[in-house]
Symmetry: C2
Subunit: 586 residues, 2 copies
């Protein structure tokens, strides 16, 4: 662990050093010089240029004024940002595979009719493709409906554990710095098939805890509810059948708005009898654990309702299984959780962190669900980025539930019960990113292990930078499976080559010193950058025959933890929050 | 290597066995039962159902008739297909990183004006998003223009090696089984920055050979040309400036159509003087290596043209560098190669295999470029799939070139010279897939290493399947980082559990035998499926204490190459075609 610290400190010092030396850093530069903050925190600003038409190109290209920006609510991923994000993907995928999931990849667009009527009030957020002749299609809104469509199309598959990491599209109000995007990643894990009750459901929740703890995401709570309990509750309170989904959506807003507002939406916008609304209010603000479950079981008016009874039985069994997986402490049984989507039929859940709630509330360690300022919707520009709107939080970082009827909606064959969860990686990323910024850990985006360089000889006409020899050495290393680069100039100064290697934090240099060693021998030098006084690269290093180069380099790489790997481990896994420490259930 | 064979044969026998046992294979089934052929070879057939509206859901969902199919020219990736495809991605990415590339991820859509005027005649193939208010955008047509847009937006970046694996979109005529899709993957590698001539260009070509050989793609040729040579040639022949790009596109069709047709397009459709067309014809049918280069250098009429002279100087230098990387033998300098896209300014290249040309021609071992039947375009349905049209081949599997002015078109800052290549993974996949089908290698899509099962006890009411114990064991294995599954039933028969494990080709079983061993000890059993007579799982295996389970399993996994990894190695790397064997340059 002391080595950890040493290494981290040393890399930190390198980073700080290099930050003060940006003027030297223009050569063979990997993407790191762009501050991750620029990529991450600031939505890229518009740049307006009148673009040039290259003389050697007579056609129309680029004659018009071009606004250089990303499409609203979308972003580029580069440099350290993408290195960290891919590390998150890797950890999530590893856990998915650990649970036996296989990969599935569906097209970014689906026939519009496939998506129709699956998303309730949110259907208005679907992106349509222009009708250019042929089929009418839309960008996928999530990965669940395409999965169900695929199951329905492949009659041979009655059960499968599948995972899918891909971007989905929603024309929603963006808040870029909070990871609320219009194009964003979802990482889905679903279990399809007929099994004994609550077994797949409990595995999904166990997997969720496994993943979030491995990501060191900090405190989080899994809000849990059951559609049948909620729907039965509405029945008992006297909500008409045709109002159940709309009222359900209203209840779902209790994590953002106080009861008074939700009640107003129910009665004024959705025409619910105020008495019924108040009855609902008595229940939907309750949350807890097994205790709440038992309270409901004892409440005659509810327990006598068949739908509710089924839901309660499910949850009782589920809690038993969650105990076996040792994740019950993460669960908050929350009657206000409704989930907007139409297709859920059983258990539903949503993972929230302190950052999920608006800043105004997040100070409160237990994730409160009441008493927030009303969100100021910018009426002038519905597309406005709301990153600075302190009534907007990051939102839930993962959510899902059971949907037993979705596949049946598409297919003639017997319905296939499904349960799953979707992780919102952009939001998870922005939480981890913030922590990394606070911790000021040094980060690296390139993975190059060896920089091939040469001490030039002669001068003027006879100056020799040993270009072809450097190319041949690099080629030898590549063929040997080693990540290597060289400076693509005929005769660069030694110092410039060292700078280039430093800038990419490359751990080893392979150096040609023809005068001393000839061309059949090179030096391998560990680039401990602290040891290099600016502009005075040391000359020592270990001489090895060129024919043994690959072998010699590999020997040294094995004894060095790859820096990129190393930092990643520091980044995501140091002080992993254990379940016990981070329990926030109430 | 004999072990390789043994293992492969044994897995083959398993596969054949299991093919005859599909009736037993419905439990906890990974996606493998769908024949990859169904997913791969047959474009999924339409299925028409009137979808049911689930009783517990009162809203509109699924009331309409739904056609279950993928959007034209797109496909799902599942099972063995995606396992093989991801292996291809992995090999390509590894090589990209070996050359120092960092990852970049841009949105699937760009502002329409960003794409405008970059793709010449192919611009008509761009997918537009519907105007739903806000910005007008289109799906990306390639990964190059978004990369240039990103470079222009990030003033801090003057040089970068970047790679990008993502789907791109073209409303072209699909030929699904030949990997000609409307949504398809590109794997791009580009070097941006000001370096000495031809150094980045030669590295891109070296990397291309490295990747294709590592994929054991079979025979292939890298067609090479230079935009300045081609444009200068058109000047010399007397083509008016405003006709150069259109005539260039016509020439590019010489790999599909005979000269007579191309000449007709030039003269009749594009109004070129027949004499000029004939002059062009004298040159553009030439191909070769250095020999052709020298021939052109000796041709006074050409060598005196400044533009051509620049191009020839580039190629001379390039050939020297390609010799150092030992890839010259893969190159065919081909004056008919023009590349449709507008933005190329220097060296251009395209990789073709025997399958690239239409079937009618591919018998011809050297990839001929003349004398083909005319493609029968289905006038009634431009969307028709042309998989069976024998005038359509797989096309090029990789292509690219130098584009020095594209970034400058977007940005006010000094232009950034770029060169790169794009690999068409769907086409590479369909070539490898075909080889795998012919070789009948056994394939596996799940990666699970351990199946947890229990010998049930008692009967009726007292029947015990040790569900909670199986769950706890699985949880212990997951926490230990081991890929494990169990049958999600309360009390399944032993035989059913073994079948489930067999069906996923899981290498190890962990078995609870309470009567013999109690619950603190389990047996670890290697699942050599040949040794299991149908329905008579053997009872032996090694007894280990539950507390040591993770350790004991890991020990055994280390000594077994993970099956999935193993097969992958057999799949892609056995008899790698060496440069020498596969040289097809003429």
């Amino acid at each position: 662990m002391s080595i950890t610290r040493l290494f981290a400190q040393r890399l930190l010092s390198v980073r700080l050093q290099s930050l003060t030396a940006t003027s030297h850093r223009s050569v063979v530069r990997p993407v790191t010089p762009i501050s991750p903050l620029v990529l991450h925190i600031q939505p890229q600003s518009k740049i307006r240029y009148s673009s040039k038409t290259p003389k050697d190109d007579p056609d129309e290209m680029g004659k018009q004024q071009i606004t250089l920006k990303n499409v609203k609510g979308s972003r580029d991923w580069a440099g350290v940002d993408i290195a960290v994000r891919d590390k998150i993907f890797e950890k999530i995928t590893t856990t998915f595979k650990k649970h036996g999931a296989v990969s599935l990849d569906t097209p970014v667009f689906e026939l519009k009719e496939v998506l129709a009527g699956k998303y309730g009030e949110d259907s208005k957020l679907i992106y349509d493709l222009a009708d250019q002749g042929g089929e009418i299609s839309s960008l996928r809104y999530d990965l669940t409906v395409p999965f169900a469509r695929w199951l329905a199309m492949n009659a041979g598959v009655n059960s499968i554990k599948r995972y899918h990491l891909a971007k989905v599209y929603r024309r929603d109000q963006p808040a870029v710095t909070k990871g609320r995007m219009r194009e964003f990643y979802q990482c889905d894990f679903d279990i399809a098939g007929t099994y004994d009750p609550m077994l797949p459901d409990s595995e999904v929740l166990a997997l969720t805890v496994e993943i979030l703890d491995s990501l060191n995401i900090g405190e989080y709570t899994i809000k849990l509810n059951h559609r049948q309990i909620l729907d039965g509750l509405f029945e008992v309170c006297g909500v008409p059948q045709d109002k159940i989904r709309p009222i359900s959506s209203a209840v779902d807003k209790l994590d953002k708005s106080p009861w008074e507002e939700v009640r107003k939406e129910m009665t004024e916008q959705k025409g619910l009898d105020p008495e019924i609304a108040d009855k609902i209010g008595q229940f939907v603000l309750k949350k807890g654990g097994r205790d709440l479950l038992e309270e409901l079981e004892k409440t005659e008016s509810l327990a006598s309702n068949e739908t509710i009874k089924k839901g309660l039985a499910d949850l009782r069994l589920l809690f038993d299984y969650l105990d076996i997986y040792d994740v019950t402490k993460k669960i908050s049984f929350d009657l206000s959780l409704a989930r907007g989507l139409d297709y859920y039929t059983g258990v539903i859940y949503e993972v929230v962190t302190e950052l999920s709630a608006p800043p105004a509330v997040s100070q409160n360690p237990t994730i409160a669900t009441k008493g927030k300022k009303k969100a100021k919707i910018n009426k002038d520009d519905p597309d406005a980025d709301r990153s600075d709107d302190d009534t907007v939080g990051v939102g839930s970082i993962a959510a899902g539930g059971r949907y037993d009827d979705l596949v049946g909606m598409f297919s003639g064959k017997a319905k296939i019960p499904c349960v799953g969860i979707s992780f919102g990686v952009d939001r998870i990323y922005s939480i981890i990113r913030k922590r990394l910024e606070d911790s000021q850990q040094p980060l690296r985006s390139s993975e190059v292990d060896v920089y091939v360089m040469a001490m030039p000889e002669g001068s003027g006409e006879n100056k020799n930078g040993f270009l072809k020899e450097r190319m041949a050495l690099a080629n030898q290393l590549w063929k040997g499976g080693i990540k290597a680069e060289f400076l693509a100039k005929a005769c660069p100064k030694m110092q410039v080559q060292f700078k280039a290697a430093e800038n990419a934090d490359v751990p080893f240099a392979v150096i040609i010193f023809n005068e001393q060693l000839g061309l059949d021998t090179v030096r391998i030098k560990k680039l401990g950058l602290r040891d290099l006084p600016e502009g005075h690269p040391e000359k020592e290093g270990i001489a090895v025959p060129v024919k043994d180069l690959v072998e010699e380099v590999k020997k040294r790489l094995e004894s060095t933890t790859g820096i990129e790997q190393y930092i990643s481990r520091v980044k995501l896994e140091e002080n992993v929050v254990t379940g016990a420490e981070s329990s926030t259930s109430t």
